[in-house]
């Protein structure tokens, strides 16, 4: 591995300054669970790794006014161990508690998962269905990017030179809202999604119709995908098995999977249908029991 230096800035300004100065030769990291593997495999070379875990803004987790702010370096375990977050955002917990094993969850962050921009990232789809916003900070100051627009290709994202992800903001969910994430893997743990689906629905007052819905798909395109047509289809529909099955078919039509060592194209399309139905059913149950 090409030798690099280790920097642990204490402020955002300091972090931005280092990243700006070093450009492509430096990258920020939190859990290091992806970047060290990539560096050892020789995927790219760096002169510096910038540890964000001493920066207060990136390590804060706060639930206020029904919304959630997750610092970019907050590890998965801190998210799922927080009882209030667990109660309010079960769809997010679905993902945070299945990335890697326990050892990985001690370190891996949803922010890192997002920045790594893998099409199969488990953490991204639930963020998309929660309409989450990525809060960025760079030499030019702050800006926002929607999570669904954040990844631009396998391993590529919208971050510019010197810019870093500070935190991810989830707006307060609407009333009678439920979300869920499931992925399919051949083993039961320690695996990469062959396909994954996050679903979110909000119901009308009597629970007879879906008033808003968002579906996001993992590992079936160059990035995690917001399934716009399937999401739109659900609006106004009764939350029935038939509706969900139809939504699954539409979601599959929005997927553009490839065949690789983790799964075939046909299998991935079948999985999108199945996981869409299954996650919608869980999201519905959660919506019905939410406030």
């Amino acid at each position: 591995m090409h030798p690099f230096s280790y920097v642990a800035p204490r402020t955002l300004d300091e972090a931005v300054e280092i990243l700006d100065r070093r450009g492509e030769r430096a990258r920020p990291f939190a859990g290091a669970t992806d970047i060290l593997v990539q560096l050892r495999a020789g995927r790219f070379e760096l002169d510096a790794l910038v540890d964000l875990k001493a920066v207060p803004e990136t390590t804060a987790l706060s639930l206020d006014g029904g919304g959630l702010r997750i610092g970019a370096a907050v590890p998965c375990c801190e998210i799922y161990e927080d009882a209030a977050v667990r109660a309010a955002f079960p769809g997010l917990i679905d993902a945070a508690s299945l990335i890697g094993g326990i050892q990985i969850q001690s370190r891996a962050s949803l922010g890192g998962n997002l920045c790594n921009a893998s099409p199969s990232a488990d953490g991204v789809c639930p963020l998309i269905v929660h309409s989450a916003v990525a809060k960025l900070r760079g030499p030019e100051g702050e800006r926002d990017a929607s999570v669904e627009s954040f990844c631009t290709g396998p391993g590529a994202n919208v971050l510019r030179r010197g810019e870093l992800l500070v935190e991810i903001e989830l707006p307060p969910p609407p009333e009678r809202f439920g979300a869920a994430y499931q992925r399919f893997i051949p083993r039961n743990e320690m695996d990469i999604a062959v396909a994954g689906v996050a679903s979110a629905v909000a119901l009308d007052e009597d629970g007879a119709a879906i008033v808003s819905a968002r579906l996001a798909l993992a590992a079936v395109g160059p990035t995690p995908i917001l399934a716009e047509r399937a999401s739109a289809f659900l609006m106004g529909k009764p939350p029935t098995t038939e509706t969900f099955a139809e939504a699954g078919k539409i979601a599959a039509s929005e997927a553009s999977p490839i065949a690789d060592m983790r799964g075939t194209k046909e299998h991935r399309l079948q999985l999108i249908e199945t996981l869409t139905r299954r996650t919608l059913a869980v999201a519905l149950a959660r919506a019905r029991t939410s406030r």
Binding site: M261, R262, G263, T264, Q270
Partner: protein, 768 residues
């Protein structure tokens, strides 16, 4: 955990108990020294540059920049390795051509598998060595890669080794990738098929699967200026490494000393040389000890998995379900050099059955992938996947339960094994009966699982012969009556304990009072490798022999003390007694304290060359699975393994062998494979994507130890390490077929393939 035995048990004090293994405390404290843990004064670190191509001419290797890099001590390429002419090496049980072995270790002129070493560097630390590799310039001219049976066997195929001379049924063949075609035949199977009431023929495809030991290969070497070469390595075969190093490096055997470090799993994959000769030659050039540790990717790319291939089996039965004939066509891909266990596959494919008319053709085929290695019951799980799947499907067709079929057709004492020998008393039928009588078999299977999942049950049998061969064990009696036991077999799974226990049984000592130590090749007589299910069986006999010699010598010493004839001294249950003066008696410990004044220390070596294995160890496995028809995922929900141990020396470690083999077999059945691109580059060369079972993927694994004594061992012990990987894949295949009503003919039976089988069934194909 159950044990069934079919005879009045020989009485034992130690054998059959479950003491804590002698090396256990070191291992739970993290103090045991594995290969990579070694530290030596002046140690430097090596790394290997490997071919990125599966098949390429190496036009130029320029290592000048690497040699000049900061922190680099030595660089070697193929030019630095001695050249060997073709010479067949008898490696105890396996045969290797010295020339193929030398070329496999380091490429010269041509790379024939992805990961083939092209150069190596020794530097001040691991990262400096890795960085220096980047400075080595290699010009490759890629050639078309031969990576499948079709590629390799097609007329006009690209020939990997121009000078390979194939042996095709005794005829020499040139310009071929088929290194060997063998045949076993007796009776007239074709005529018998004509007469059979039912005949079924199927073709099965089996993935190559890696042994998957958690410890990567490592080797440290110091080539001293006096010409002596010391090697510390993680190996199953310290004496094999010694002789192979001597052959490859053109040294006398006695110039090489091999110290086996603790070994973090092997399963047959740590027998061949990989890093040892490279570390040695680097050490010679650098005049320092050099340590090399393989990374996980290279373990997958460049060390031996078990071979994949294709097996076609055909079986005919009469109206009662008795087998009248069977044939098999076995084609294994050996990797870049010949040798893929086709002989064992030919024995194992129908070994469980009485087959009156039989023909087995087997082909050893060379392709552009890493040379395969032995993997637990080498060659046999692949063949059994075919034959045991076929039996189950045949049973469906003739409406006979697989249990009845097995019991009717099981090979027993006096029946002829496919390759000729007659079975002595074996536990084949006893294992079936143990499964039949198990709570698992007797319980009804709830066919519907939760959420629409489908359940099924399958069984399969398995055979592995095992070997005996050469072992030496030395026992030294200490003043306090504790004995040290010196042995030469690396302990992969508890054999320090099982060998020590056999000595303890003879000496009348508790297991704890025998202190076993695994030592280097200069410190003990010759030992064949820790493999072939032989260690407890054969080295145990060397320990028994050594213990008997100790007892005989100590009887003489007690005779001196008691002023009587040695014939008057008897030894029973750990006590020496004077038959003519019954009040004269010494426990072993007391006697041990009298050795100094009666002639000096007692140290005895038992050296044996154990014949055969007593007919091998049979097994029967029963498995319940749950299949999700919407995703194709299979979950093993219940498992029972019965196997013949002859006599279980340490039942816990016998159970552990049954369970470990079952887990590896389930992994092979469901997910494990080499997924390569069309150029022969493995794409899933990590523990993430190779998908071995995790703790969450398996249920508890129930075991039944069957004990049909082995007449070749004084305690009746059989070698048991390998058979347990033979039945799992077909048992799982049979359970999946039972669950979903469609059959899979290919491993791994991964979710996508299960979905394909379900779709084919819906479309009217492949249904029942």
């Amino acid at each position: 955990m159950t044990t069934t035995t079919d005879r009045p048990a020989q009485q034992f004090n130690v054998v059959g108990t479950r003491p804590i293994r002698h090396d256990g405390v070191d291992k739970v404290l993290g103090r045991a020294q594995y290969g990579a843990d070694l530290k030596l004064p002046g140690l430097i670190h090596g790394a290997v540059l490997r071919s990125p191509h599966a098949h390429a001419v190496i036009k130029r290797v320029d290592a000048a920049k690497a040699a000049a890099a900061h922190g680099v001590f030595a660089v070697i390429t193929g030019e630095d390795m001695p050249v060997s002419a073709s010479e067949l090496l008898d490696m105890g049980e396996e045969v290797t051509d010295l020339r193929w072995m030398s070329e496999r270790i380091m490429a010269r002129g041509k790379a024939v598998y992805k990961g083939h070493p092209v150069a190596a560097v020794a530097a001040v630390d691991q990262n400096a060595a890795l960085e220096a590799l980047k400075l080595i310039e290699v010009d490759y001219e890629p050639l078309p890669a031969v990576i499948s049976l079709e590629d390799a066997m097609a007329p006009g195929a690209v020939v990997i080794h121009d000078d390979l001379v194939g042996d095709h049924l005794g005829e020499k063949a040139r310009g071929t990738n088929v290194a060997e075609h063998t045949r076993i035949e007796f009776g007239d199977p074709d005529a018998a098929f004509e007469q059979a009431a039912h005949v079924l023929e199927r073709t099965y495809t089996i993935s190559r699967a890696h042994q998957g030991y958690i410890e990567p290969h490592s080797a440290t070497a110091f080539w001293s200026p006096d010409g002596k070469l010391a090697v510390w390595t993680t190996t199953q075969a310290p004496f094999g490494v010694r002789s192979n190093l001597a052959q490859v490096l053109k040294l006398p055997v006695s110039a090489v000393k091999v110290t086996p470090m603790e070994i973090g799993g092997g399963f047959g994959g740590k027998i061949q040389l990989y890093l040892e000769p490279l570390a040695a030659v680097l050490s010679k050039k650098a005049a320092r000890p050099v340590k090399m540790v393989m990374d996980r990717k290279s373990v997958f790319d460049a060390t031996g998995p078990g071979p994949g291939g294709q097996v076609t089996v055909k079986m005919g039965v009469d109206a009662n379900g008795a087998i009248v004939a069977a044939t098999a066509d076995i084609r294994y891909m050996a990797g870049a050099y010949p040798g893929s266990s086709i002989s064992a596959a030919s024995v194992g494919v129908f070994a469980c059955y009485k087959v009156p008319n039989l023909r087995i053709d087997a082909y050893d085929v060379v392709i552009n992938m890493s040379k395969t290695a032995a993997y637990r019951a080498p060659g046999t799980p692949q063949a059994a996947f075919a034959s045991e799947s076929l039996v189950s499907e045949l049973c469906e067709r003739i409406g006979m339960s697989p249990m009845d079929f097995h019991l009717l057709n099981a090979a027993e004492e006096g029946d002829r094994r496919p390759d000729g020998p007659i079975f002595p008393r074996v536990g084949n039928k006893a294992c079936m009966e143990a499964i039949r009588d198990s709570a698992h078999f007797q319980s009804a299977l709830q066919r519907e699982g939760p959420d629409g999942k489908l359940r099924g049950r399958g069984m399969a049998s398995g055979f592995w012969n095992g070997i005996g061969n050469r072992s030496s064990v030395t026992i030294n009696v200490n003043d306090d009556g504790v004995v040290s036991l010196v042995e030469g077999n690396p302990d992969i799974g508890g054999t320090r304990a099982t060998i020590a226990m056999q000595a303890a049984e003879i000496l009348g000592l508790p297991a704890e009072d025998v202190h076993p130590a695994v030592v280097d090749t200069d410190a003990i007589g010759y030992n064949d490798l820790t493999a072939g299910s032989r260690t407890t069986y054969a080295s145990g006999q060397a320990a028994i022999e050594a213990a008997r010699l100790v007892v005989e010598e100590m009887k003489k010493r007690m005779a001196l003390v008691w002023e009587t004839d040695p014939e008057n001294v008897e030894f029973e249950n750990g006590v020496f007694r004077n038959k003519v003066a019954p009040d004269q008696r010494f426990a072993f410990k007391q006697a041990a304290g009298k050795l100094g004044q009666t002639g000096g220390p007692v140290a005895k070596t038992g050296s044996v060359n154990v014949r055969g294995s007593g007919g091998g160890s049979f097994a029967a496995h029963l498995v319940d699975v749950e299949v999700d028809p919407e995703t194709g995922k299979t979950q093993v929900i219940r498992y029972t393994a019965a196997q013949d141990a002859g006599k279980a020396v340490h039942p816990s470690y016998v159970e552990g062998q049954f369970q470990g083999g079952a887990a590896q077999g389930v992994g092979w059945a469901l997910n494990e494979e080499y997924y390569t691109d069309e150029d022969g580059v493995m794409l899933n060369s990590s523990f993430l994507d190779y998908r071995m079972p995790t703790a969450l993927d398996l249920p508890m694994l129930d075991t039944i130890i069957v004990e049909t004594p082995n007449a070749n061992h004084p305690f009746g012990v059989r070698g048991i390490g390998e058979t347990s990987i033979v039945p799992p894949a077909p048992a799982v295949a049979n359970a999946i077929a039972d669950a979903i009503g469609a059959r899979l003919y290919q491993t791994p039976m991964n979710p996508a393939r299960v979905m394909e089988a379900l779709a084919a069934k819906r479309n009217g194909a492949n249904g029942r």
